[in-house]
């Protein structure tokens, strides 16, 4: 049991990485930019997600005691002393997705206590996966998020808070000054960057960009590692004009 907890602890710590977009996010949600945008994890949203996954896992197609069917059953045991087929299955599932849980799992927030709790939770859920079936597995986070990943059926709107305009023309990944990627949104009334889990309107402070409709964003690397240059095509001064003009093409 102790070995199992240590394995989950180590693997979970490795799985939950620092979000390059500036926000804590579940490490398994890496199937597209939509998931990256969904990195604005608030406690309330995480609770909602957990609840949804729990409901999701109660589908009738899953038999009692089964783990996610997509988890390879023949996963190596990694030197652990085995204790039976169902135990292997549960441990394999834990080892295959040893991530921080969906609710509150964060590399930035996780101190030693949090990690210990994470390991404990994962271990407990593994035990539950053998005894109580897939619902408990869903609560652990790893399985459910992987299933979510496979189905691509849940999208989380980020809202328009911070965006200069809800009309988004383009989204681009732009490296910041340190080289870390950021999501930029070209909108009908300026340009915004997704930082620390929220949109920051960077055009409002610029006389050149304030209120401009941005139709596209491009990044040109400067020679000899001199950073990057950002180019914006400004279409019209407000989104209604831009919409009308685009429609008239």
């Amino acid at each position: 049991m102790r070995l199992r907890a240590v394995w989950c602890l180590l693997a979970g710590a490795a799985g939950a990485g620092t979000d390059p977009y500036g926000a804590a996010r579940p490490a398994t949600r890496s199937w597209g930019s939509g998931a990256q945008f969904a990195s604005a994890t608030s406690t309330a949203r995480s609770r909602t997600r957990s609840a949804g996954l729990d409901r999701h896992d109660r589908r009738p197609g899953l038999r009692r005691g089964a783990c996610d069917a997509r988890v390879p059953r023949s996963r190596p045991r990694r030197g652990r002393r085995g204790s039976g087929a169902s135990s292997k299955r549960g441990m394999a599932a834990c080892g295959s997705a040893p991530r921080a849980p969906a609710s509150g799992g964060s590399a930035t927030a996780g101190g030693p206590t949090t990690r210990r709790n994470t390991a404990s939770r994962l271990t407990r859920s593994t035990r539950c996966s053998r005894r109580r079936g897939p619902t408990a597995v869903g609560l652990s986070g790893g399985h459910a998020r992987r299933r979510l990943e496979a189905h691509h059926e849940r999208w989380e709107p980020l809202g328009t808070t911070g965006l200069p305009d809800p009309l988004v023309w383009k989204l681009r990944i732009v490296p910041d000054a340190g080289g870390l990627p950021e999501v930029w949104a070209a909108t009908g009334k300026g340009v915004a960057v997704f930082r620390a889990g929220r949109w920051v309107d960077i055009s409002s402070t610029s006389e050149v960009l304030a209120g401009r409709s941005i139709s596209d964003i491009a990044v040109v690397p400067l020679p000899a590692g001199g950073g990057r240059e950002i180019w914006l095509s400004c279409w019209a001064s407000d989104s209604s004009t831009a919409t009308a003009q685009r429609g008239a093409w």
Partner: protein, 155 residues
């Protein structure tokens, strides 16, 4: 003039590219970045009213293509870094333009495009030579292998 032109900056400070800088259009519509023969980045800028432009360390250049210049609008660009052509250009009414720094080729209905209005592109990551095209009358795919004619398949 509807547009305000092209803006560039470092993320903190911005400035407008004026006609005096060599970029004559105030209606840029789409941007793309490809790589030149020596690996240098090349910025492509499509415009609503003046055709297609590209910029390297030497400044701005207008694409010497009467076909593109006469297009009544450029809908979109798709850069093809490290491959040929440098960029795909979707036009209003003049089909798809396969554009390099030194040459271009027009792909239109005679090649199988369902419409000369090309709005969108996507390159297959598993096969970058294969491009999907969204037009005003449906989709088409085509391969860009050297020596092959564009074999559009309507979707």
């Amino acid at each position: 003039m509807l547009g305000v032109g092209l803006v560039h900056g470092d993320g903190a400070t911005w400035s407008v590219v004026s006609q005096a800088d060599g970029f004559p259009s105030r209606n840029p519509t789409d941007l793309a970045v490809s790589s030149g023969p020596r690996g240098q980045p090349i910025l492509w800028v499509a415009s609503y009213d003046r055709g297609l432009f590209w910029r390297d360390a030497g400044g701005w250049h207008a694409l010497e293509s009467a076909r593109v210049q006469s297009a009544s609008g450029v809908y979109g660009l798709l850069a093809n870094p490290g491959r040929r052509p440098d960029v795909w250009v979707g036009t209003r009414g003049l089909g798809l333009q396969s554009v390099d720094l030194s040459s271009w080729r027009t792909i239109d209905e005679s090649d199988g495009l369902p419409s000369p209005e090309v709005n969108a592109f996507a390159a297959d990551p598993a096969d970058p030579a294969s491009v999907w095209i969204g037009t005003a009358r449906g989709l088409a795919t085509g391969a860009t292998a050297r020596g092959k004619r564009w074999p559009c398949r309507r979707r």
